[in-house]
Amino acid sequence: MPVTEKNWTPKIVAFCCNWCSYAGADLAGSGRLSYPADIKIIRVPCSCRVNPLFILRAFERGADGVIICGCHPGDCHYTSGNYYARRRMTLLFSMLDYLGIERGRTRVEWVSAAEGGKFSNTMNEFARTITELGENRKLGDLRCK
């Protein structure tokens, strides 16, 4: 169904690392902390698994914001995955910015397995940012709208 201004709600994709952030999301759930239902969590083995293509494909398919959550630097289950992810995402976000895509639409946060509260706060705050930014019109495939 075509999305009109009125019934628009932000669609957010969250890539969560299996070892920390996904467990953090679990903890947020079991602690009955709420976060918006429009956030679709995709579990990845490590934040480093997130290929730039994944992020762009998410936008293509109608995402309004993409957030990547991984273990805190130094705590990676695979020792260094999130360090690589950090460099990659920095460069990618900078490129999206360079092409004129709104900065707030992409974010990286480090959330550990113990940080259910941080997970829920981050998601709430990110959803608010995206709602303020409005619908993603610059980087999406019209056919998927």
Binding site: P52, Y83, Y84, T90, L91, D97, Y98, G104, V108
Partner: protein, 292 residues
Amino acid sequence: MQVIANAIKKRALELLADGTVARVLGWQPGEQQSDWSPALFESADDMKDFVYGKYAGANLSKTCLKFNKAEGKTLVVLKPCDALSFNQLLKEHRLNRDKFYIIGAGCKGMEDENGLLLKCQCCKGKTFEVFDEVIDDEESRRLPPSDRFEQVARLEKMTHQERFDFWRSELSRCIRCNACRNVCPACTCQKCVFDNPDSGVAAKANTTDFEENMFHIIRAFHVAGRCTDCGECSRVCPQHIPLHLLNRKFIKDIDELYGDYQAGIGEEERTPLTTYTKTDADPGVVHERGNE
């Protein structure tokens, strides 16, 4: 240039005659004044078409991939900037050094029918990173230095909307011929991610604006840290899209965030994206840099 060209030709003939090399990779003239093409010469007789000079703009290092497994050695003529690409391919183990005899050729900036090539306007090839011998003269490699990030910096200063409009107007010309990808000496995947039949998109038509953005972001990202800024992508673009501005943005960011780095130098150094430090900035740094 004619002196250098004659010297290269003489040397190539000698090496062909004594069996050191089995073939020569160079340029041949075209139908018009400036339309030279890369060409292969397998005998002294073939060599009469060999040329070197101001229209030898093409980077031959990617063509070398075709001869990596050929019988005998291949002589390849590389300009300083081409040698960077060649060396980067060596570092990635895509080329076998023993299979090539490299003549480093002196260069005074290459041209096409519209004058000095865009890539030569910020010449960075002052030394030969890899060679067996260099044929050069006094006036070579003297192009005045210029700031290659000037245009990138100008774009960074624009507002988001201006940048978006700029890139939309540039990228909307893209016809998805894939010439930029196919010519790029850093794009050497056996099967490109865009040729994946399961990706759901045809890599030959931009069915939406998104496809244009997508392709060019990913193309530039996949060579980030390995791109030597050889400028071939912009040179070959039939629609004159300034693709080097995407690559240079990555280079500029890498230089600013992780320290100066030039791909294609050295033997073993890791590229910025295959290494890290524990004190790297978080991706949020992007939000604090630059305009807006």
